[in-house]
């Protein structure tokens, strides 16, 4: 057997191996994708249900906002800054008692969503605040002149005008959450990132690791693409 043939076989062999190892892990990989989906879904739900009102409240209560309340603002702003600065791993561990109190368990994919949700809420709240600040002052003034209540100001004026920015920042938060969720294996959350680390990195199955990373890159780009597309579609500000 010549050296060339051996090399050729080597390459084929490696490809076969790659295929084999990937198909061997197909089930688990699909499961880990589902887990990431659950974690993202839950934390984004929290971002929308809690982060959006929280960011809106920050916008309203800040110093030059429509309804300045220094105390409220300091509190919310503090929350956002603290969640942003504590090392995420420690944050996850510190939350274990809380998660257990809330869900009855502190391990597994659902439980892993709790710390992710805290972070998603904080990040999205900050983005919402910033996005609303970009709405022209005149829009607030218009709402005032039409006798709108605070609730109406928010739902009828600010959100419709800021909607494309709100979608775009939710996209950014989603992508950050993909990256945060990588750590959630620590409390049994699973997910794609954890899969890549455990099945690829720790057991030296590099094909699995690279395949998984590729999937993540594709997923992130798809999320970004979808977000950008949606936000353009609903933006009528300039054509």
């Amino acid at each position: 057997m010549s050296g060339q043939e051996a090399a050729g076989q080597g390459v084929l062999g490696r490809l076969d191996e790659l295929g084999a190892s990937l198909s061997a892990y197909r089930g688990e990989m699909l499961q880990s994708i589902a887990e990431t989906g659950v974690m993202l879904g839950n934390s984004l739900l929290a971002a929308v249900l809690l982060g959006l009102p929280m960011g809106t409240w920050m916008y309203l209560s800040r110093k030059n906002g429509p309804q300045p309340r220094t105390g409220v603002y300091a509190l919310l702003n503090g929350y956002v800054n603290v969640v942003r600065s504590v090392p995420f791993l420690l944050f996850v561990v510190a939350l274990i008692p809380f998660t257990r109190w809330m869900l009855g368990t502190s391990f597994g994919t659902t439980a892993a969503s709790v710390p992710l949700a805290f972070v998603a809420v904080a990040l999205y709240a900050r983005w919402v605040e910033q996005t609303l600040l970009d709405v022209p002052r005149q829009t607030v003034e218009l709402a005032d002149s039409l006798g709108a209540s605070t609730l109406q100001l928010v739902t009828r004026f600010l959100y419709p005008e800021a909607r494309s920015g709100l979608v775009l920042s939710l996209t950014t938060v989603t992508i950050s959450m993909v990256s945060y969720s990588t750590i959630m294996g620590v409390v049994g959350g699973g997910g794609v990132g954890d899969f890549a680390i455990r099945y690829g990195y720790q057991t030296y199955e590099y094909e699995v690791m690279y395949a998984t990373i590729l999937i993540m890159i594709v997923v992130v780009m798809a999320i970004q693409g979808l977000g950008t597309w949606t936000s353009r579609r609903i933006d009528r500000r300039l054509r």
């Binding site: 005149q138 829009t139 003034e141 218009l142 005032d144 002149s145 039409l146 006798g147 709108a148 209540s149 109406q152 009828r156 004026f157 419709p160 005008e161 909607r163 494309s164 609903i234 933006d235 009528r236 500000r237 300039l238 054509r239």
Partner: protein, 248 residues
Amino acid sequence: MIELQQVTKSYRSRGTGRRGGEVHALRGIDLTIRDEEMFGVVGESGSGKSSLLRLINHLEAPTSGRVLVDGVDLARLSPRARRAQRRRIGMVFQQFNLLANKTAFDNVALPLRLQRRRERERVMQMLDFVNMADRAHQHPSLLSGGEKQRVAIARALVTDPGILLCDEPTSALDDHHTEEVMDILGQVRRELRTTIVLVSHELDVVKASCDRAAVLERGRLTAVTDVVAPPPREAYSSYAERAQRYLA
């Protein structure tokens, strides 16, 4: 009827410490605007025109003195009652202030929605009044300046307010569009009998359409004049023709 009694308005200056201090935007203004009149407010930049207007619907509170609209002092109302009162005063802004993500129709429908009213008819009627019925479903970015301002006027009128406040409603517009908008305001006054307060630095505009006008100078009211209407303009078929005749 709108009455300003000894009204003063000062702002804390926006500057940093060194240049900080009070800006006296309005000083001791006494003024009565009658029902159903078109009342002009003229003055240089910074003379206090916008401040005066914004006091009327209480977007700003007076520093001292009282502002009465139909005998009611907005400063003394609860926030809720004040909102209700504001809904009876329409406002047209210099920069139109249309919501970019809503169609012309939805922009006009907005004040009704705030009162939980859904009156398609009424909205279309107003759009028709300002001659914009056929553009009802376009977004503002596709409209010209004059068209935008007409939509803004329809929005201000849709709740049938007794008073219409206009802050430089034509200064973002060219001559052509200015005429368009002023024609509509004239019509509002004739047909809807709305009291109109018109702030402008363009003397031509005020002269052409107001009954009386207040002249402001650095926060003080220097005069309230009865306006003498100018001779009607010649009618031209196009801007280009008019330009040519005017320049030569």
